[in-house]
């Protein structure tokens, strides 16, 4: 199934028709007082129509900046797009005029943010905000737009939507607001729905509601989903493919079955090893040592090298590429998957297996 993530088509030519979104070598940097932050540094991936992709990675790894660049929502400066192309629905959108982009944003491509209260306008009713968007993009009458607003609230399971459309955002609970955000995103039947940590700010049980809702909607509509999160559990449940980001780069990509069951990049391995489980009770967790590198002081070659348990001198000298690492298009950014690293690979994988299941060191 998964040409979805494999190597993108040659630069410059539009991708095949079944590819909805094709991001190629995207580089978004920030110029700030202390220097330059390579927030997104050469990210490439693609997404088939109607499919879903997850982006995971820790705080500051460049997940949100990738999404915002795609939506063309970043302020330039301080942001600076150094390189890259983004093909969406057969068109290159990174370099198109803002006028054109506005027609796509909120219409064919819609986004849900982490904190719903700040992304809804407090002085307009929920219905106004949805209807306004429908009116603008779909060129319909006010009445039809209003009906569409009620319909989309119904779609996200909000009871008595006729009454809810007349309410203001602050009159709704957190879970309800996130539903409104989703309704708003869906109101124009987007081809791509980008959800940036849609449940992080929510309670456990509300998170369950929203995730189930997103799943149901994905089944019912034919929109593609790009889900940004730092929770591997959420990714495992929600999406077909996943890309793992570390320090602005993609370090691993593939189907969830590949990446989360047979991870091939040491960072992903480490993440999975460090998840607390019942089996590890009584022992220590296996932890990735150190912390993420300072963005102004990135390790020169492999960015994970200072923390990597399998690193050897090559890793500190040459930056690894994304190398094929699995039978179904899985790729990992690690020298272990080059001929030079091949002899070390079995040992690394065995080490991972060992750490995965038992807590080590008796406490």
């Amino acid at each position: 199934m998964t040409e979805v993530i494999a190597a993108p088509s040659p630069l410059g030519a539009p991708p095949p028709d079944n590819i909805l979104l094709d991001v190629r070598n995207l580089k978004t940097y920030f110029k700030v007082l202390d220097g330059v932050v390579p927030a997104v540094d050469g990210v490439s991936f693609s997404l088939e129509r109607g499919k879903s992709i997850g982006i995971v990675g820790e705080s500051g790894s460049g997940k949100s900046v990738s999404a915002l660049t795609m939506m063309r929502l970043l302020d330039i400066p301080p942001a600076e797009i150094r390189d890259g192309e983004i093909w969406f629905d057969g068109r290159e959108i990174l370099h198109m005029p803002m006028e054109e982009m506005r027609k796509i944003r909120g219409n064919d491509m819609a986004m849900i943010f982490q904190e719903p209260l700040t992304s809804l306008n407090p002085v307009f009713t929920v219905g106004d905000q949805i209807a306004e968007q429908v009116e603008r993009h779909k060129k319909v009458k006010r009445k039809a737009a209003w009906d569409r607003a009620i319909e989309s609230l119904q779609l996200v399971g909000i009871p008595s939507p006729e009454r809810r459309v007349k309410q203001y955002p602050h009159e709704l609970s957190g879970g309800m607001r996130q539903r409104v955000m989703i309704a708003m995103a869906l109101s124009c039947e987007p081809k791509l729905l980008i959800a940036d940590e849609p449940t992080t700010a929510l309670d456990v049980t509300i998170q369950a509601q929203i995730l189930e809702l997103l799943k149901t909607i994905q089944d019912r509509t034919d929109s593609a989903l790009m889900l940004i999160t730092h929770d591997l559990g959420v990714v495992a449940e929600m999406v077909d493919n996943v890309i793992v980001m570390y320090a602005g780069q993609v370090v691993e990509q593939g189907t969830v079955d590949e990446v989360l069951v047979n991870p091939r990049a040491p960072y992903t391995m480490g993440l999975l090893e460090s998840i607390p489980t019942v089996e590890k009770r009584g022992g220590r967790l296996s932890a990735i040592k150190g912390t993420v590198p300072n963005p102004f002081n990135m390790p020169p070659a492999c960015r994970f090298e200072p923390r990597c348990p399998y690193a050897w001198n090559l890793c500190a000298e040459t930056a690894p590429d994304l190398y094929p690492a699995g039978p179904h298009g899985q790729h990992a950014r690690c020298h272990l998957h080059t001929p030079a690293g091949a002899p070390r690979l079995p040992e690394a994988l065995a080490d991972h297996e060992r750490k995965l299941n038992v807590g080590h060191g008796i406490s």
Binding site: K31, V32, L33, D34, P78, R284, A287, K289, G290, T291, V292, P293, N294, F296, N297, M298, P299, P306, G361
Partner: protein, 319 residues
């Protein structure tokens, strides 16, 4: 004791790399203190830098000027020659000369700088000290104390300050050296804004987790106020103080201009402006212009610095 020994057997250190010293990619290249960081941001603010330059120049003038070109009320240039008209700017008197006693306007402006800055900064200092004390008490104690103090602030704010100052100035008019009277009056009536600010800062900082953490280890109230809350309230206070200085300089000029301010024999900028008033119809523009310009320049400089400080201390602005 058993526990002490246990503690020696330190736990695993995930941060220490076994391979020995290497580049530390985790910590910043250079770590700056809060003030260094603020200075770096301040430097990016061009107007603030200009303002700072002007203010430094003014301070130098205020200190050195009266020594280089002293002003004495009873030293009159040409006592026999009281003129009706002033004289415009010339090479020997670049700011022109006044009518009447034919004083050099430059001399007046230079000497006025000392008084205006002295009044601006001293009364600010008084106001900020009073305001900080009252605001801290209200914010830390809360409850009834807070309520009473804040009502006092409301009452003070509802007084028509200008009249009060005029009345007070008249009341103390007999004082020989009434510069300090003016300073104290301005200080006594200029603390309410600071008090409100400090109170709200206290209310919010008091709820911050690090204060709770200090309490959890048993730190006493006095130390919490002086070591935890005040240092964190400092930057907004500094910003507010800079703006108060500007307000006080204008206020002094205004009150002196009305003739209720500093003793007219002292050449503050307001007094010079005031005495120039009657000569304006005669076209002696240089006489009010230069002191007026000095006031505007000072106030602008201080305001620019205030703006710069505000941005520099704003944790949200990184660039």
């Amino acid at each position: 004791m058993a526990q002490e020994i246990e503690r020696g057997a330190v736990v695993a250190d995930v941060e220490n790399r076994p391979e020995g010293p290497r580049t530390d990619y985790e910590v910043g290249l250079e770590s700056l203190s809060q003030w260094q960081l603020a200075w770096r941001k301040f430097k990016k603010h061009r107007l603030a830098l200009i303002g700072l330059g002007i203010l430094i120049a003014l301070v130098v003038i205020a200190i050195a000027g009266p020594i280089v070109m002293p002003f004495r009320f009873d030293s009159i240039a040409r006592p026999d020659q009281i003129v009706y008209q002033g004289r415009g700017p010339s090479l020997s008197h670049p700011f022109g000369e006044t009518g009447g006693l034919q004083r050099d306007v430059l001399l007046l402006v230079v000497n006025g700088a000392r008084w205006s800055l002295l009044i601006g900064f001293s009364s600010m200092a008084i106001g900020v000290v009073i305001g900080t004390i009252i605001g801290s008490i209200a914010g830390y104690a809360g409850g009834a104390v807070d309520n009473i103090l804040m009502r006092v602030v409301d009452v003070m704010l509802s007084l028509p300050i200008l009249f009060v100052i005029l009345v007070a100035a008249r009341f103390f008019a007999g004082a020989r050296d009434n510069i300090w009277t003016i300073i104290i009056i301005f200080g006594l009536f200029g603390w309410m804004g600071v008090a409100r600010l400090v109170r709200s800062l206290f209310l919010s900082i008091r709820e911050r987790e690090f204060v709770e953490a200090a309490r959890a280890v048993g730190v006493r109230d006095r130390r919490i106020i002086f070591k935890h809350i005040l240092p964190n309230a400092l930057s907004p206070i500094v910003v507010a103080a800079s703006l108060i200085v500007a307000g006080n300089i204008i206020g002094e000029a205004f009150v002196s201009f009305l003739g209720y301010g500093v003793n007219p024999i002292t050449p503050t900028w307001g007094n010079v402006l005031s005495s120039a008033l009657t000569f304006i119809p005669l076209g002696n523009w240089w006489w009010p212009f230069f002191p007026g310009f000095a006031i505007i320049l000072t106030v602008l400089a201080v305001n620019f610095i205030g703006d710069g400080l505000r941005d520099a201390f704003d944790p949200r602005s990184r660039a």
